[in-house]
């Protein structure tokens, strides 16, 4: 595409406060180009999810508030819009932990994703076919209650549901959470295909630095509510600090491997 690296989503120095007192983001800036996959990396509590929720404005439901900075999408200030308006403008978040509607069937879950659309039944059922093409497993399980499907199927359901809104940009929060490595790989492959074939831009929050860097073009590393490092995915993967602290490898071998494992294990309890 011609305007490939023109900024699509720009976040400028935002600050987020929960409950009027807890300062969580302390000036975060980032950019997502049109058609890009950008990774947002960092340990537990770094503020990745908060950043995504600030963009999609799901913060409001958690008593969080963007108190400084600006969020610009397709050249428009969007940080006062409510989530429904943002979905209509093409930004959808796939929340951490999947959040499928448990008592609805997979197919009904997908249909709810099209709630904001007004382009008619035909267009919606075409998109449903498209989602089933990308996720054949969802087609097999289409009439099962989502709550009884496997974790991987639920993750696919959550992504498929977001696709049903016909988004230009998906905010994808920890798709790898709690899934077996092959399945994670499978899901990332599909995400890449979606990005290439459908032109959906993706902002990806991940703890799994390794896989996130392999599938994205650019990455930001967050610590403690700040962006501490950024760069092309390939360069970040080669950076010594990143290797040591986030990939669990360093020049002296795998010395911080135990820490990495430790926070992964804790993660299950925390979420």
């Amino acid at each position: 595409m011609a305007d490939n690296d023109k900024a699509f989503l720009t976040i400028n120095n935002i600050e987020v406060i929960y409950d009027h007192v807890i300062l969580v983001l302390k000036g975060v800036s980032l950019e997502v180009p049109k058609g890009g996959i950008v990774a947002l990396l960092g340990a537990n509590g770094a503020g990745k999810s908060t950043t995504l929720k600030a963009i999609s404005n799901l913060l409001g439901a958690e008593r969080g508030d963007v108190t400084k900075g600006s969020i610009e999408y397709k050249g428009e200030q969007v940080h006062n819009l409510n989530p429904a308006d943002l979905v209509k403008r093409g930004i959808v978040q796939v929340m951490e932990g999947r959040h499928c509607f448990e008592h609805l069937s997979i197919e009904e879950n997908l249909l709810t994703g099209a709630y904001t659309r007004s382009d008619g039944r035909k267009a919606i059922s075409d998109d449903m076919k498209l989602v089933y093409d990308y996720f054949p497993r969802l087609y097999e399980r289409r009439s099962s209650q989502a709550g009884y499907t496997s974790g991987g199927e639920q993750q696919m359901c959550a992504i498929g549901r977001a696709l049903m809104a016909r988004p230009d940009m998906i905010l994808l929060d920890e798709p790898s959470m709690g899934l077996a490595p092959q399945l994670v790989e499978e899901i990332f492959e599909i995400v890449r295909k979606l990005n290439q074939n459908e032109g959906v831009s993706i902002l990806l929050a991940e703890q799994n630095t390794n896989i996130a860097l392999r599938y994205s073009d650019y990455g930001y590393i967050m610590e403690n509510g700040r962006v501490v490092m950024e760069g092309n995915a390939g360069e970040l993967g080669e950076n010594e600090d990143v290797k040591e602290f986030y990939l669990g490898i360093s020049t002296e071998g795998r010395k911080s491997f135990r820490d990495v494992k430790h926070y992964r294990r804790r993660k299950r309890w925390l979420t």
């Binding site: 439901a61 943002l86 979905v87 796939v94 959040h99 499928c100 448990e102 008592h103 609805l104 009884y148």
Partner: protein, 330 residues
């Protein structure tokens, strides 16, 4: 569908259980008058009265499911809608038109409640929202009576209110109760259809499941709240019409909400079929208990039977008969 079979089984089991007690008692002592046709007459009368409880409980369940708010004002909405209907009618509006107007007023009320009460309190603790609905209760009780007066009013829809003999002339049933049950049945079936098959209905179920996720795909919670409150208002109006034409439109209508509580405990707070079946069981149970068991222990069971039953349920099955299964995967 499975749930409907469950409903039938439970209702049947409950009825048989209720028959077993007076039947054995009748065998044991001659003081108790027991005959099957008479038993069924009482049971059917009770079931038909139970339909009313179901309607009120249904209003609670809808709002509770969609917003987690326990709407204390459901009873007040019943009273308010009935008062408005009779009031309009007394002003000379023909009754059918008055029903249409009252429906519109209940929808407007839902919009106002969302705007003025719910929206400013969004994200507050549930207990705060609960207290806000107590406020709505007092407002509606007061406002309705200020507007339309507080004396007992008659509501006459022209439905025949005479007992008729059914099942080969053996069982006496009030025609009005039959019509009321029929209308309630139609209402419930259309609601079920609405929830199951429409886009908005699906969105309502989605919100009931996970409101954050609903928000994330762009379902505006505000609209959903207006819709459930409006539906609850419409259900309240139907209940108000039925009770009002039976008992007269008066303050005591607001108190039937108190009967809805045991119904909810029995049926589960989040289950629409539960509300319906709970209402039927309590309706039939309290009439049967009054007629067949009260003589054994000295009368007056009807008033507290429902609460006893609810208490027993709280002990043995706190999620109610149909409380939503929490899906646990391991």
């Amino acid at each position: 569908m499975r749930i409907e079979q469950d409903v039938l089984k439970i209702l049947l089991a409950a009825l048989l259980l209720m028959a077993a007690i007076p039947w054995t008692a009748g065998k044991l002592s001659s003081d108790i008058f027991f005959e099957w046709p008479f038993f069924f007459e009482v049971a059917i009368g009770g079931l038909l009265a139970g339909v009313m409880y179901s309607l009120v409980a249904l209003g609670f369940v809808l709002i509770f499911k969609a917003s987690g708010v326990f709407n204390f004002s459901q009873g007040a909405m019943v009273l308010f809608s009935a008062l408005t209907l009779v009031g309009l009618n007394e002003l000379g509006v023909p009754i059918w038109l008055a029903i249409v107007f009252t429906l519109a007023i209940m929808v407007v009320l839902a919009v106002v409640i969302e705007r003025v009460v719910l929206r400013p309190l969004v994200n507050q603790e549930h207990i705060i929202l609960f207290m806000a609905t107590i406020g709505i209760t007092y407002f509606l009780d007061g406002f309705g009576q200020t507007l339309w007066g507080s004396e007992v009013k008659l509501l006459d829809l022209g439905i025949p209110n005479s007992p008729g003999l059914y099942f080969g002339g053996q069982i006496l049933i009030n025609d009005f109760d039959l019509v009321a049950a029929l209308i309630a049945g139609i209402l419930v079936i259309s609601l079920a259809f609405f929830f199951q098959y429409t886009r908005i209905g699906r969105a309502l179920r989605a919100v009931a499941d996970d409101h954050q996720a609903a928000l994330s795909i762009g379902i505006p919670l505000k609209h959903i709240w207006v819709i459930v409150w409006a539906v609850a208002g419409i259900v309240a109006l139907v209940a108000g019409i039925m009770w009002g034409s039976k008992l007269g439109v008066q303050f005591s209508l607001a108190l039937i909400a108190l009967k809805a509580l045991p119904v909810l405990i029995l049926g589960g707070f989040t289950s629409v079929p539960g509300a319906i079946i709970g209402g039927l069981i309590i309706g039939a149970g309290e009439k049967l208990a009054e007629v067949f068991i009260a003589p054994m222990i000295g009368g007056g069971i009807e008033d507290w039977f429902a609460y006893m039953l609810a208490l027993a349920f709280l002990v043995f099955r706190p999620q109610g008969l149909f409380g939503e299964k929490i899906i646990e995967r391991v």
